[in-house]
Symmetry: C2
Subunit: 155 residues, 2 copies
DNA sequence: TTAAAACAGGACAAAAATATCTTTTTTATA
DNA sequence: TATAAAAAAGATATTTTTGTCCTGTTTTAA
């Protein structure tokens, strides 16, 4: 449903939301290892995210990526629409040119409710809120290193 | 979510379910025009579907594709798993290697319920039942030619 | 001042998905 | 039996997505 690029982007941003701030920047190398994402590909992605103000970066020794408070006020939807385009959740599941209650395809009513819900979730919840929930309820964004993102594993 | 190929396949089969039987076969040319799907690509697809017994075909003049009664007893899931593989609805929305209630990603519980539901729908309902519903409730599988698939438009 | 660390940017490469073309086989029927 | 219509099959082409490589630029600690 989402492209690899988009999945990488979301996970990276959530990761940065969990682990970084202006005093603790994280380099591409670390992020790509932790999340098991191809490094050069991720580098490109982060560039793009940086340009669109979804992440912040600084160069030089001790440089790296982090989420500023402003960055954290963005939503997952901002990521999706940047990477995968903003028609992602308007499209018909069977590829018809128009999706709507007035000309529903055979699975429209099964799919539609869900799309709405997910869309809202993505559009309303800020990154900050997602991060909060991850910390609280324990969600995973990497399988490699379970512990780093479990609740209570952080200071 | 589904590949183009898979969407084409589902729509073609539903179309055949609506309009064809052993006495009324339909050629690739017609199907591709009606559904607005690239012809040679569809031809390949139908070959594949034929091999897997999801559609039936005969060569020669007055030949074409149709759904036998056996074909109609298959499910949409059979199509999806053939074309897109049977992991399609087991995969994590964010691309994590394992998807499950025990190690949920941040959107797992939003997505999971839906996936279950759609999966069931696709797995339980036969093509015949889908076709029935299309006829009864009026569902679209092509936008180009609305009328051909609306209820009451057929004999 | 300098060297290393890190991001930035452009060009390139590989793989997968999508689409097309050409030839062969089958078959109804004139 | 010849012919034409249609699918089957295999080879090829295009596009998109994904991934890599190399060189440059900025920053900063020593
Ligand atoms: S019309 Fe197909 S999902 Fe809405
Ligand atoms: S773990 Fe991500 S969708 Fe289930």
């Amino acid at each position: 449903m989402l492209s690899n690029a988009c999945q990488y982007a979301i996970r990276s941003i959530l990761y940065l939301g969990m682990r970084s701030d202006e005093e603790h920047k994280i380099g591409v190398k670390v992020i790509s290892k932790e999340l098991e994402v191809p490094q050069p590909f991720l580098a490109k992605l982060l560039q793009q995210l940086n340009k669109s103000n979804l992440v912040t970066s600084t160069k030089g020794p001790y440089g790296g990526f982090y989420l500023s408070e402003t960055n954290k006020q963005h939503t997952v939807w901002d990521i999706v629409s940047l990477i995968d385009g903003n028609e992602k959740f308007n499209q018909c599941f069977l590829g018809l040119s128009k999706c709507g209650d007035d000309n529903p395809c055979p699975v429209h009513f099964t799919v539609s409710a869900f799309k709405q819900k997910l869309f809202q979730d993505f559009k309303e919840k800020t990154i900050a809120e997602f991060v909060e929930e991850i910390k609280l309820k324990g969600r995973y964004i990497s399988l490699k290193s379970f512990e780093i993102l479990k609740p209570d594993s952080d200071s």
